[in-house]
């Protein structure tokens, strides 16, 4: 599956547009990470626990989006976008969406 966040794929032609595909996940951060982040907040620097949390949520959302595209029989997703929204304190949603399409390689 080719996944891009542009509208077109060089070397490929879009022959069929299947429609929007999406995947989301709501994740809560846990107390251990909060304590570590609270300490790190005194001296500054990267909050690795929270970065990992974002990475995990993003992978999960993208996987769900890929599954959705596979169900539709697409072989590529174009114009992928991400948004996040906070649900309650300590939990947030990561949403990935794009347009599922069928592409064929362009002849020389």
């Amino acid at each position: 599956m080719i996944v891009v966040n542009t509208d077109a794929i060089p070397g490929h032609r879009i022959v069929e547009v299947k429609g929007i595909v999406q995947g989301n996940t709501v994740r809560a951060k846990h107390a251990g990470r909060d304590i570590a982040a609270g300490l790190k907040n005194l001296v500054g620097g990267e909050l690795k626990g929270y970065t990992e949390l974002l990475t995990e949520s993003r992978q999960e959302a993208v996987n769900r989006m890929l599954n959705h595209a596979q169900q539709l029989g697409a072989n590529a997703i174009v114009s992928v976008r991400f948004t996040t929204s906070s649900i309650t304190s300590g939990a947030s949603e990561l949403y990935a969406y794009g347009t599922a399409v069928t592409v064929v390689p362009e002849g020389p």
Binding site: V4, T6, I9, G44, E46, R58, F82, L94
Partner: protein, 170 residues
């Protein structure tokens, strides 16, 4: 005498934290800027644009692929303290400006490094979004001051000259 002890007991931890923020925070920030500069030099040949179109793509190469990176960077005690004071009077908060700059540069750098690993030499459609990870709670007094970013882009390989264009010229 007892009142003096009480005062010292109240003031000393705050002073200690401020000192920690000043020395550790500044040293971490300086190190991060130096690190960014060094790593940016290593990927300086990668062209990053935020256009939706591919600039001189090599259509014979493997198809492009989306890259995503995340980064969460924390403020330090000094920045938060000074920020809170400046927040009261209004105006620009310089401490947080460098915080955001570091986070954006780091996020862009991470997608460039991923592109390098995959043998690509260009990235287009770069999008940098701030991410929500549920840090704000009005009921809870202790909020963590931090910047979280989600960056995405599409990595591809550039061709030297477009064959079609070359034919059109001759």
């Amino acid at each position: 005498m007892e009142a003096l002890f009480g005062l010292a007991f109240a003031v000393l931890p705050a002073l200690f934290l401020l000192g920690l923020g000043t020395f550790m925070g500044r040293s971490i920030e300086r190190k991060h800027f130096a690190d960014l500069k060094r790593r940016e030099a290593a990927v300086s040949h990668i062209l990053a644009t935020q256009m939706k179109t591919f600039h001189q793509p090599n259509s014979q190469a493997s198809p492009p692929m989306m890259l995503v990176s995340e980064v969460v960077i924390s403020s330090d005690y000094l920045k938060s303290f000074v920020g809170a004071i400046q927040n009261f009077f209004g105006g620009e908060i310089y401490g947080f400006q460098t915080l955001l700059e570091r986070a954006r540069r780091e996020a862009l750098l991470r997608i460039k490094e991923q592109a390098l690993e995959r043998g690509c030499d260009a990235i287009c459609c770069v999008r940098l979004n701030t991410a929500e990870i549920g840090g704000h709670d009005p009921a809870q007094k202790k909020t963590i001051v931090m910047v979280s970013l989600l960056a995405s882009g599409t990595a591809y390989r550039r061709g030297s000259v477009e064959p079609v264009l070359a034919e059109a010229v001759t």
